[in-house]
């Protein structure tokens, strides 16, 4: 480093891109862990194809990992990147538009041979590395494949195995650029390849070579310093959304004293919750990979009937399959948590892309009048608190709850100021005290002030009873086809959901004043982009406020009043305007939508442009 100049940066966005076999996700997550441990604030956005291995070198096969790290608080993975690392021509073509003007391209020249250029559909004879089309960027060309093979030539490994570690060369290089230590990744490699010492040696060697190459070669004139962020004091860790969801479930089980039963069927992007929970069986968690989505939710219902806390997770198409059973759970009035890690589109849609288009499905996607509480998380770390809340409501109110996450926050990562067990409030399951009941006249659907019923589980002597999906008489739970009773029960179940509003916090404004010209309302994973946009505009002196909904049903009691304090309302959503319709219908407000349906999260800029347009403050 002796000859290089050190520059200080507030925040940097790096986009690693390559073929889906190039180890891009691993490279990105290793850099994330190292930056997080150093104390940077971070936000990440993995973006990968739906195919396990799309044809090599093609545009369809490009896998990307965008990572924003800084010495300031960050809420998004960054609109555009400062550094674009491309392992081949397709990765460059697919991601170049993401690069900031004057940004740096690190290109693996080996990935720009005639075959790669043809596969990525560059015109015959055109090579972007040599035709000056990249002149406005800082282009660094390295034959990474060759450099890597050179450094491993005495390793005894075959060419194929050698090439597999070239992502570590890149990572080492980036570690040098941003002045990071290698030890975290070296420990990771030792753990990952503990059964093949030769692979540990090769990967560590290539990682170090990348680092030293940055130091000794003349290609880089400077490296950069991104200092630790000034986050609120406390203990931090790095966390991904699905991981936070899984930990939130475990915390809810511990804090309620219930055994957690997780029945699920693999689906992108929800499967990681199953993977995470399966690792923690010593928390007395039972995970069950069911034969299909219907069995997954039904097994969870069975578990809840038996006195455990049944949880199931899926993504939109799987939730569609669970619909009928969800209606059953609603009639049974048992605790049950249904997690929907949303992805793009109807049917199979865009399995690996993000969207928040299942809000209507969550609210209305069942037959009959079947209202249920719906709660949404707003960021990877928020998944913990939001899912814990969802569990609390489900257990304490004896009702199935739908928890909405999405692919963006499920796979994204950020630092998390994690709580301590003692600071997490207890959840109280409404188990019935059998000695307290008149057993002759036990009424399984007798309600308390929350309108919820007692939880009498099999094995409790004297409280034997039958429940089911047929309409039931209030209190006794006996089957009833009485028309008046049915209308009464429909309204009662709706009222039961509405009363939950008495047991959730009042809505707060996230940033800005409590009244003014424009309120931006968001829900779910648009949080970071909206928050950043509002912050940046406020810094320019523009008056705008941000409110973010966690509770989508019932809505917070003071929401209407807050809405009335603003002249205009903007609702950015990664869908065609679902919350927009709900709030318009609920409060007769002429709110405006900003809708993005591209399978991609909002950029900060997109939201800023719309806010300016609404406030007529276009520069």
């Amino acid at each position: 480093m002796k000859n290089s100049i050190k520059e200080e940066k507030e925040s940097v966005t790096i986009l690693f891109a390559g073929d889906s076999g190039d180890g891009i996700q691993l490279t990105g997550s290793e850099f994330t862990n190292t930056a997080a441990a150093y104390g940077n604030d971070i936000s990440t956005f993995p973006n990968f194809p739906a195919e396990i291995r799309a044809p090599q070198g093609t545009l369809a096969g490009v896998s990307g990992f965008q990572l924003h790290f800084g010495s300031v608080e960050l809420f998004t993975p960054g609109d555009n990147c400062d550094v674009l690392v491309v392992m081949n021509a397709a990765a460059l073509k697919a991601n170049l538009k993401q690069l900031k003007p004057n940004g740096t391209i690190i290109a693996n020249t080996d990935g720009f041979d005639s075959k790669n250029l043809r596969l990525s559909k560059y015109p015959e004879g055109v090579n972007p590395l040599t035709d000056h089309s990249l002149d406005k960027f800082k282009l660094i060309q390295l034959d990474i494949t060759k450099l890597n093979r050179e450094c491993l030539k005495e390793s005894g490994l075959g060419t194929k195995d050698m090439d597999r570690s070239k992502n570590m060369f890149v990572l080492g290089l980036i570690y040098w650029m941003y002045n990071r230590e290698l030890d975290k990744t070296i420990n990771f490699l030792k753990e990952k390849f503990k059964k093949s010492p030769e692979l540990i040696d090769a990967n560590v060697k290539t990682l170090k070579s990348g680092f030293h190459y940055g130091e000794t070669s003349e290609v880089f004139t400077s490296n950069y310093e991104v200092k630790a962020a000034q986050l609120p004091a406390g203990n931090y860790r790095n966390i991904m959304g699905n991981q936070a969801t899984a930990i939130g479930l475990i915390a809810a089980a511990q804090k309620s004293g219930l055994e957690l039963f997780y029945g699920s069927y693999p689906i992108t992007p929800a499967s990681d919750i199953l993977h995470e929970l399966s690792k923690h069986k010593n928390f007395n968690i039972k995970t069950f990979q069911a034969e299909d989505e219907i069995a997954a939710i039904c097994s969870a219902i069975g578990a809840s009937f038996g006195g455990s806390f049944g949880v199931t997770a899926s993504s939109g198409p799987g939730i569609a399959l669970k619909g009928e059973a969800l209606g059953l759970a609603l009639m049974l009035e048992l605790p049950l948590l249904v997690i929907n890690v949303q992805r793009g589109g109807p049917s199979t849609g865009l399995p690996t892309k993000t969207e928040q288009a299942d809000l209507f499905q969550a609210l209305y996607g069942r037959n009959g009048e079947s209202p249920l509480p719906v709660i949404a998380a707003s960021s990877p770390s928020d998944c913990f608190e939001a899912v814990f809340e969802a569990c609390r409501i489900s257990i304490e109110h004896m009702i199935p709850v739908i928890f909405l996450s999405d692919g963006y926050i499920a796979n994204g990562a950020e630092p998390w100021k994690f709580p301590q067990t003692k600071d997490i409030k207890a959840i109280v399951p409404p188990f019935i005290d059998a000695s307290d009941v008149d057993k002759e006249n036990f009424k399984p659907y007798k309600r308390d002030e929350k309108l919820s019923r007692p939880w009498a589980i099999p094995g409790t002597k004297g409280l034997e009873h039958r429940i089911g999906g047929l309409e039931k008489e209030n209190e006794t739970g006996n089957i009833s086809y009485d028309p008046d009773n049915h209308e009464f029960m429909v309204k009662l179940r709706e009222e039961k959901v509405q009363r939950i509003a008495n047991y959730i916090p009042l809505q707060k404004i996230d940033s800005g004043n409590d009244s003014g010209k424009l309120l931006v309302i968001g829900w779910g994973s648009t949080y970071g982009a909206i928050k950043t946009a509002v912050h940046e505009l406020k810094n320019e002196g523009i008056e705008v406020s941000h409110l973010h909904l966690r509770y989508l049903n019932p809505l917070p009691k003071n929401l209407e009043q807050l809405l009335n304090n603003f002249e205009n309302i903007l609702i950015p959503e990664m869908n065609n305007g679902q919350l927009l319709q709900i709030l318009r219908a609920a409060y007769l407000k002429d709110a405006k939508g900003l809708n993005k349906i591209k399978g991609l999260p909002f950029t900060v800029d997109e939201i800023k442009v719309k806010i300016r347009e609404m406030l007529n403050t276009n520069e």
Binding site: A36, A37, Y38, G39, K184, A229, P232, A233, G234, N235, Y236, R237, N238, I250, A251, Q254, F261, G263, H280, K281, N282, F283, N284, K286, F288, A290, E291, D292, I294, A295, C298, S299, A300, I301, G302, A303, F305, G306, G307, S308, G310, A325, L328, F418, Q420, T421, P458, G459, T460, K461, G462, L463, E464, H465, R466, I467, G468, G469, N478, I479
Partner: protein, 345 residues
């Protein structure tokens, strides 16, 4: 002292104690009444407390069953009783779980869950009421209806090749496979008791007469005039003998079962039933569909197959114990913190 009198009281439970105050609403003459009666009568004998018994059903006439049992119960949704019971049994191995289902419920809409329950071998009992018709939806053919059956949805005859429930169950790796019928209460009772005693999934197919939409579907097996020649009651270690005068038997000609006349041939050559023989069970369940063959085989009743195999809930509990032993009781604070943390002051 109190305990002792409690125990005595429990031992004195009778079939009546398992009946509820709900009116039983099956059609008059329905075969379900007989099954209900047998179930209610064996429960006081099996040594399980009433509060530890759970009946779970799907949808259909048979699935009203739980309402008539004074135990815990759930009348759920089409075809899903097996899936619900799986989650219940996984978390509550202590309960005695009974699944009540019909031919449509178990084999059509719930076919998937049915086979997976069998292969996992949860220790539950499935009572499959087979009447070869959809009763509750008023008379469409079911997956067990014979080809050509005229029903409301098949006025020109059903084209579907019927399911053989026991062959399906055996193919799904079931560990206890039996058949009985509503019109033979004594036999039904015996099979129910054996199903209860089996550790693992017990599948009992019960021929049940729907006297409204499919009356007489099993008449040849249940009525006096034909029963003896059309049925064979298989019993462990006993030769396969049947017929009005116990004069017919079944022997194996290579892999082909043939009916022999015992007046002409020795009983010593007959097939002797072995419930643990999977290969022979596969043949026995095939005494089934081809009613046109010249040498018609009688329909077997009894326990076709049983094997001892670990139950899912046992293995699941063992895994949890194993995790506890290896890692110690889960500590939430260390889970929250994870492996890499840093502090900001």
């Amino acid at each position: 002292m109190n305990n002792t009198s409690e125990n005595i009281k429990e031992k004195q439970l009778s079939a009546k104690d398992f009946a509820t105050d709900q009116d039983v609403r099956w059609c008059p003459g329905c075969g379900d009444y007989s099954i209900l009666k047998q179930v209610q009568s064996i429960l006081p004998e099996i040594g399980v407390k009433r509060e530890d018994v759970v009946f779970i059903s799907g949808i259909g006439c048979s699935s009203r069953f739980p309402y008539y049992m004074n135990t815990y119960g759930m009348h759920s949704i089409h075809g899903r009783a097996t899936a619900i019971a799986s989650g219940l049994k996984a978390t509550r191995p202590d309960l005695s779980v009974w699944i009540i289902t019909g031919d449509g419920d178990a084999l059509s809409i719930g076919g998937n869950h049915f086979i997976h329950l069998l292969r996992r071998n949860f220790n539950v009992n499935i009572l499959l009421f087979n009447n070869e018709i959809y009763g509750l939806t008023k008379g469409q053919y079911s997956p067990t209806s014979p080809k050509g059956q005229i029903t409301k949805s098949t006025p020109m005859g059903s084209l579907d090749h019927p399911f053989n429930p026991l062959a399906v169950s055996l193919g799904a790796e079931g560990t206890f496979i039996a058949r009985s019928m509503d019109r033979d209460p004594k036999h039904l009772r015996e099979i129910l008791l054996r199903a209860n005693n089996h550790k693992g999934t017990s599948l009992v197919e019960i021929y049940q007469n729907c006297n409204v939409f499919n009356d007489g579907a099993f008449e040849v097996f249940t009525e006096k005039g034909t029963k003896a020649d059309e049925t064979i009651f298989i019993e462990q270690a006993q030769p396969l003998i049947f017929g009005q005068n116990k004069d017919k038997g079944i022997k194996l000609d290579g892999f082909k079962p043939v009916v022999v006349n015992l007046n002409q041939e020795s009983a010593n050559d007959l097939w002797v039933h072995d419930e643990t023989d999977r290969v022979k069970a596969a043949m026995l369940v095939r005494f089934f569909s081809d009613q046109t063959q010249t040498e018609r085989l009688p329909r077997p009743f009894g326990v076709f197959y049983r094997e001892e195999r670990y139950s899912y809930e046992e293995a699941l509990a063992a895994q949890t114990m194993d995790a506890l032993n290896k890692k110690g009781k889960g500590d939430l604070d260390s889970l929250l913190a994870g492996k890499n943390t840093w502090s900001i002051r």
